[in-house]
């Protein structure tokens, strides 16, 4: 039996409920990323926020981007960040000061940026479609490998170069002392 478009008695649409749920999860976990004291927990909260963002992408009608978000961000970048955290942790790190001494200015600046963006969005009338449009994955594939094939190749070269550079930078220097990074 298929479920309806909205909840039967209350009349709230399922899309709205899911959007509010994922948006709240995203904002709360992003705040945890920037405020928690233990940096390992910051990394785990980052995984939660990236996952809820992937859910919002799926809600927006971009399933292929949601899948890429899960694969690349949650699967690769989060693991990379967690490994880097474990390699740079010292024993007394969580007891030390988390924020810079002048972080109040940073908070004020961030609040000003947020207020500016929200005011601009609310003051502008966008000439857009009234409802979300679904993106077919085959359309994405056709466009990516026809019109965007040059950026695609450039990105592949960039990824290769960055991986080689990262291995060179993070390598343990040789004992002999030559070609030290």
């Amino acid at each position: 039996m298929p479920i309806g478009d909205s909840i039967p008695l209350v009349g709230i649409r399922w899309d709205d409920i899911l959007f509010v749920l994922f948006a709240a999860t995203l904002l709360v976990s992003a705040m945890m990323v920037v405020t928690l004291r233990d940096i390992i927990r910051c990394g785990l909260a980052l995984i939660v926020s990236l996952a809820s963002l992937a859910s919002i992408y799926a809600l927006l009608g971009d399933p292929i981007v949601a899948a890429a978000q899960v694969l690349v961000y949650i699967g690769a970048i989060s693991v990379l960040i967690l490994f880097a955290i474990m390699m740079t942790q010292t024993k007394n790190a969580p007891t030390r000061l988390v924020f810079q001494t002048q972080s109040w200015f940073a908070a004020v600046g961030a609040i000003v940026v947020a207020v500016l963006i929200v005011a601009t969005v609310l003051a502008t009338t966008w000439t857009v479609a009234g409802s979300r449009l679904l993106t077919a994955t085959s359309d994405v594939a056709h466009l990516l490998f026809k019109d965007y094939v040059l950026p695609f190749e450039v990105v592949s070269v960039l990824l290769t170069a960055s991986v080689v550079g990262a291995v060179y930078l993070a390598r343990r220097p040789d004992r002999s002392g030559e070609d030290r990074p």
């Binding site: 649409r13 899309d15 709205d16 899911l18 959007f19 995203l26 992003a30 705040m31 990323v33 920037v34 940096i39 910051c42 990394g43 980052l46 990236l50 919002i56 992408y57 927006l60 009608g61 971009d62 292929i64 981007v65 890429a68 970048i77 960040i81 880097a84 955290i85 390699m87 740079t88 010292t90 988390v98 810079q100 972080s103 200015f105 940073a106 600046g109 940026v113 947020a114 963006i117 929200v118 969005v121 966008w126 857009v128 479609a129 009234g130 979300r132 993106t135 077919a136 994405v140 466009l143 990516l144 965007y148 990105v155 960039l158 990824l159 960055s162 550079g165 990262a166 220097p173 990074p181």
Partner: protein, 103 residues
């Protein structure tokens, strides 16, 4: 609510502001990189939101978002490698203790 462009844009604006605060306020270099990831994701959400509501941008937004994800992966790789290389020399991940060029 999920059918209006405004709510997605406000959400990505708030996420971007949180990223700005984390980048400016945290002392740990890896926390700053995580905040940069949050800001990149906020921009990606904006791209996809416009693509979902504007018909001519519909497919292009998904392709551009995929390219942005790949470039962000390259950026994170190099950034974390640089942090690890500095940590190996300085023995600290805190950016305000990287002051050897000040003297």
């Amino acid at each position: 609510m999920s059918n209006s462009l405004d709510s997605y844009l406000i959400l990505s604006g708030l996420l971007f502001a949180i990223g700005i605060f984390g980048f400016l306020a945290r002392r740990n270099a890896i926390s700053m990189l995580m905040s940069i990831e949050l800001m990149v994701n906020a921009v990606n959400l904006t791209i996809l939101a416009f693509g979902a509501f504007v018909e001519p941008l519909r497919v292009h937004s998904a392709v551009i978002a995929l390219l942005v994800i790949a470039v962000a992966a390259a950026e994170a790789t190099v950034g974390l490698a640089i942090v690890i290389a500095i940590y190996r020399n300085k023995k600290t991940p805190l950016v305000d203790e990287y002051d050897s060029m000040r003297e």
